[in-house]
């Protein structure tokens, strides 16, 4: 074992020396920081002769990943299977390292190629604008989701290796002549790539953190509860939107999970359940980042679990938890909403006109309460925005309840304010930050600003559960990036819910076809091991593809031009979910603990949400 290691290390060293010019970055992942521990010190002393730090870290990371996988598998009670895999893993190790070496060489070539042909020359995504470079893109989240989903749906054909998971597939059976070939997908997460389109992988390949996350998710896939998968799916497709509905749905799922939960032998509920839930939450986060309400709720729930007495029987403990979740829902959301509705009703008078934005649960309640129970006659103007069109749902609902509803897009805002007398702007919020800023659906800030300029009071209705300690100064520093493809359609209808999968599938098929073609080309040339040539052919193929594209785009109409936007280095689409409304636009915030100005938010956080 050690001999082979040092051998391969030697080879690697050469590879590194070869690639000295290319700026390959193998940054240690955050988890790699743990490399400093003693587990791998033995190896390092052995092969440390002329090893570069980078190489050492790479090796250590692999070891580490294997160990972690084994450990986690043991914890979840599938150790036997896991150990077999580990054995397999060791057998494969030598080959794997060889492959890794080749992979590096190929990467190097790829990079040189990209540099040569400019940003658009390479097969991968061109460098995009960096205004939101710090945020996790929808594609990244989707990549992890897809990977995990694919693994779950095809368990029989998969095997877990140290580097992740590889799928057995008929196309990519490592036939003898391909053994020495680097797989086209060996760039990002080895193994998983056979399911994820290359384009996404290339986007992802830069961040080792994401790679690690995907690995972890796949390794822990057996721990995911069915309900979690369903919930994640709903979140990802925007079936459940809005911070309150999302929070409620999550609590429902948690209740289900807790009642199905069995403490594995050797651990205690209060420790293991938290960990178990964390795995579910990790996965849910991949659909969309947690909302503030969800974060607050999870924090509360974990606290509840950790406070459980060790001596309480498992069944009783679970019952206790379920009850407290119900209590929490009632107290923090349902009752809070009722108090808010009561309090905000004073602002709705007969013949008044109220503007609202998007779809807020508490506001729907408020309007219906005033119309149906208090028999007030008023008009609601719902302002809406692309691409989610939440306001449509709200308009539909209110109209069914007999309200006088007017519907317009955010572009018409100025016209509406110029031509219609408006009494109040009432909005819901996603969350209120501790510096008084409101973090809400993108567009709220514009509405609040317009109202402020016209001296119309802006009232925010929100539960104190939505208050957070976080501070933020502008919308770009922290935000959620939605899928830019949502903005491609010219039509109003939100894209077919399953469409995004199909897009990815098409991409995948295309990638694979391309790969097969290039493989065939190599077979013809008869030089299996000449990777440079392969790269050349691939490159040529890409070039051909490009020219075809450019020809075809001229014939197609513009909407189909934009289907190719990802290949245009200068074209970009930003689609954020939230924006930040400055406190000076907000007249008052109505919560269940009373109405307050934005400046009092930190007080509430301090006094009530201890």
């Amino acid at each position: 074992m050690s001999e082979t290691m040092s051998n391969s290390v030697q080879e690697k060293k050469e590879a590194v020396e070869n690639s000295a010019g290319s700026n390959e970055t193998n940054k240690p992942s955050p988890s790699g920081a743990a490399d400093k521990d003693a587990t791998s010190s033995k190896e390092s002393s052995e092969g440390s002769g002329g090893l570069s730090n980078k190489e050492m870290k790479e090796l250590k990371k692999q070891e580490k990943a294997a160990k972690r996988a084994a450990k986690k598998a043991a914890a979840s009670g599938i150790s036997i299977e896991k150990q077999q895999q580990n054995a397999e893993l060791k057998k494969e190790k030598k080959q794997k390292q060889k492959e890794a070496e080749l992979k590096k060489e190929q990467e190097k070539e790829q990079k040189i190629k990209e540099r040569k042909y400019g940003a658009a020359g390479g097969a991968g995504l061109a460098s995009k604008s960096t205004l939101f470079g710090h945020l996790e893109t929808a594609a990244e989240r989707k990549a992890s989701l897809l990977a995990v989903n694919a693994v779950i749906s095809s368990t029989k054909q998969t095997k877990i290796t140290s580097q992740g998971l590889s799928l057995q597939s008929s196309i990519f059976n490592s036939s003898p002549e391909l053994v020495g070939q680097p797989q086209p997908d060996s760039v990002g997460v080895p193994g998983t790539c056979s399911i994820i389109p290359d384009t996404i992988l290339k986007e992802v390949s830069g961040s080792s953190e994401l790679t690690q996350q995907i690995k972890d998710l796949i390794i822990n896939k057996d721990m995911l509860h069915k309900a979690t998968l369903k919930l994640t799916d709903d979140f990802a497709k925007y079936n459940i939107v809005g911070s309150t509905p999302r929070c409620l749905a999550m609590l429902e799922v948690f209740k289900q999970i807790i009642s199905d939960y069995q403490t594995p032998p050797g651990t205690i509920l209060s420790r293991n359940l938290t960990q178990y839930l964390s795995h579910q939450i990790d996965f849910i986060t991949k659909a969309r980042p947690l909302s503030v309400t969800m974060g607050n709720t999870i924090r509360w729930l974990k606290q509840q679990i950790s406070m459980l007495d060790v001596d309480v029987k498992e069944k009783d403990a679970k019952q206790l938890l379920l009850e407290s979740i119900d209590m929490f829902t009632q107290e923090k959301i349902k009752l809070a909403d009722r108090v808010i509705v009561e309090s905000a009703s004073q602002h709705i008078q007969n013949n008044s006109t109220i503007v609202t934005y998007g779809c807020s649960e508490v506001l729907k309640e408020l309007f219906v309460h005033n119309k149906v129970n208090l028999k007030k006659d008023f008009k609601v103007i719902i302002v809406d925005s692309r691409p989610l069109h939440e306001g449509k749902k709200c308009a539909d609902y209110l109209k069914d309840q007999g309200l006088d509803v007017m519907y317009c897009m955010i572009t018409s805002l100025a016209y509406v304010f110029q031509t219609i007398d408006i009494d109040y702007v009432i909005m819901g919020a996603h969350s209120i930050l501790s510096n008084g800023f409101m973090y809400s659906r993108v567009g709220s800030a514009m509405l609040a600003m317009t109202a402020k300029l016209k001296n119309i009071p802006v009232i925010i209705c929100c539960e104190t559960l939505k208050f957070t300690n976080r501070v933020q100064l502008d919308s770009l520093t922290f935000n959620e990036l939605a899928d830019p493809n949502d903005l491609l359609g010219v039509e109003t209808e939100y894209k077919d819910k399953d469409e995004f999968k199909n897009v990815l599938l098409e991409q995948f098929i295309k990638d694979k076809k391309q790969f097969l073609q290039s493989k065939a080309a190599i077979a013809e040339s008869g030089s299996h091991k000449n990777h440079g040539q392969k790269a050349n052919i691939k490159n040529k193929h890409n070039a051909k593809d490009k020219s075809e594209k450019s020809v075809s785009t001229k014939q197609k109409n513009a909407s189909s031009i934009l289907e190719k936007w990802e290949t245009n280095p200068n074209f970009n689409i930003f689609n954020t979910m939230y924006d930040l409304t400055p406190p000076e636009y907000i007249s008052k915030i109505i919560t269940e603990s009373g109405a307050l100005p934005p400046s009092s938010v930190p007080v509430i956080i301090r006094e009530y949400n201890k």
Binding site: K392, M409, M449, I561, F574
Partner: protein, 488 residues
């Protein structure tokens, strides 16, 4: 010469009131096109109106200038009525009227017919060529005058004889590039310019007088000295006099207007390019504007050796302009400009990063306010104001309107074919029985941007503060033409 004979003949024996139906034949299809929106966009409408005017001038019969004015005004009324929210045709007719009236005024003053402008057909055999060349001359003369003097002349009440020259002087002085060829494009109000020779005789005439004019301007120096131009007029009046041909003057004015409209981009570009810096982030909420597109492409490609790299954010303009925005962004990006499409709702959040907002206008009013043919622009400019981001509007001079927007709803069209796109999708929750009777939808097509939210209006003749636009309006339109009256 043929035209002059024609003119004489007509003014002699045609009685007013017997309007030949051929005029209607000309006008009606155009009105039809306007009404059915076969012609859209300020550029198209202005150009087509000028084409129509050419034919109209050729066919119209009149016995006096007053009658011609009335007929033109009547035509303007009809065209505005046909499409009240498009201003191109009205603007063009007003501009033409202005040119005509100025010409007449100058001609009359030069020859002492100041009190009888209507009698030209019979008695007044005005000298068209001389008149033209005189105008041309004064044009050249004032081009070289220092900026300061034109600023002074601004403050005093313009003397009738000076009005045109004053105008040219001011405008010329504010245009950075004043090559002779360029100047001719902007010399719209003058009957003839060297690039569009009416006939050979005229251009020869003009060319011969060019050096003299230069000498004169250097010696006289003072722009507000009426004696200078009077002197030249006197000098030239010794030449054989010719008839003042009103048709030829109008045709030439139309040609000049067309030239002006076709060549606005250079003028706008040369001013606007100095307003953006390298690596700036620009936001444009009007992706349907060709002027903005051309400007951005040009700024990227040439920029007088000062090539700039910049990022352009384009708002979507849902529901009316999504396709336009995508086309616009695609064109920019394929020319190597960093382009980003953002949803309309995101304008506020990105505004803190935006260096400048560029508007392409459909119409600029005399108070400096703009109408833009996209929605969401007003809010965008309000955001810019909140963040103290400069907003500049680009518009050709032909988009300038002498109207004042008292009731903005008169100028904004609501509805449009895209309103249906806003309808909530009934089939989403399978309860398709919901009726939309109580659900009102609003979908304006245009937006009105208040002058206080605009920092500069850049036209092909210079950049102006919105508060100054009324003055530019006065230089191009007659006050009495602002409201067209229907024929009684």
């Amino acid at each position: 010469m043929r035209r002059q004979n024609h003119n004489l003949k007509m003014s002699n024996n045609v009685e007013p009131g017997t309007e030949p139906s051929e005029i209607d034949v000309l006008i009606n299809p155009f009105i039809e096109k306007l009404k059915t929106r076969k012609i859209q966009g300020s550029y198209e409408i202005s150009m087509q109106t000028l084409q129509l005017l050419k034919r109209f001038i050729g066919a119209v019969r009149f016995s006096s200038h007053e009658e011609l004015f009335t007929k033109l005004s009547n035509l303007g009324y009809k065209l505005e009525k046909a499409q009240p929210r498009e201003f191109g045709s009205g603007n063009m007719i007003r501009r033409l009227l202005y040119v005509l009236k100025e010409e007449l005024l100058t001609a009359n003053i030069q020859h002492g017919f100041s009190n009888n402008p209507g009698a030209i057909g019979q008695t007044g055999t005005l000298m068209q060529h001389q008149n033209n060349s005189a105008m041309y001359d004064s044009n050249k003369e004032h081009k070289n005058e220092p900026m300061i003097s034109s600023m002074f002349s601004l403050l005093q009440t313009p003397h009738p004889s000076e009005l045109t020259s004053f105008k040219n002087g001011t405008l010329r002085a504010s245009t950075p590039i004043t090559t002779a060829a360029n100047a001719n494009h902007t010399a719209f109000a003058i009957g003839t310019s060297a690039t569009v020779p009416l006939d050979e005789e005229l251009s020869a005439n003009a060319a011969a007088q060019l050096p003299a004019a230069f000498v004169a301007s250097t010696t006289s120096g003072a722009a507000e000295d009426p004696a200078a131009s009077g002197h030249h007029a006197d000098a030239r009046s010794k030449k054989p006099s010719k008839f003042f041909d009103i048709r030829a003057t109008l045709i030439n004015a139309i040609k000049d207007l067309m030239d002006e409209i076709k060549n606005i981009d250079e003028g706008i570009f040369s001013i606007a390019i100095d307003l953006i810096h390298d690596r700036e982030i620009l936001l444009t909420p009007t992706p349907d504007s060709k002027t903005v597109l051309k400007f951005l492409l040009k700024a990227k490609e040439e920029g007088y050796g000062k090539v700039r790299n910049f990022t352009v954010l384009v708002t979507e303009g849902f529901p009316n302009n999504v396709q336009n925005a995508q086309d616009f962004a695609w064109k920019l990006s394929s020319h190597g400009i960093d382009t980003v499409i953002i949803p309309d709702s995101m304008v506020f959040s990105v505004m803190s990063r935006v260096g400048k907002v560029i508007l392409g206008c459909k119409q600029v009013f005399s108070n400096g306010a703009c109408i833009v043919s996209n929605t969401g622009v007003t809010s965008c400019c309000e955001c810019a104001k909140e963040f103290k981001t400069p907003v500049f509007a680009v518009a050709g001079l032909y988009k300038l309107s002498p109207l004042s927007p008292f009731n903005i709803t008169d100028y904004i069209e609501v509805g449009g074919s895209n309103t249906g796109k806003l309808l909530p999708s009934g089939n989403s929750n399978s309860t398709d029985k919901t009726d939309y009777t109580r659900l009102t939808m609003i979908n304006p097509m245009d937006d009105y941007v208040q002058p206080e939210n605009i920092d500069i209006v850049i036209t092909n003749i210079g950049g102006f503060a919105p508060s100054f636009m009324y003055r530019v309006v006065l230089d191009n339109y007659k006050v009495e033409d602002v409201n067209f009256k229907p024929s009684v």
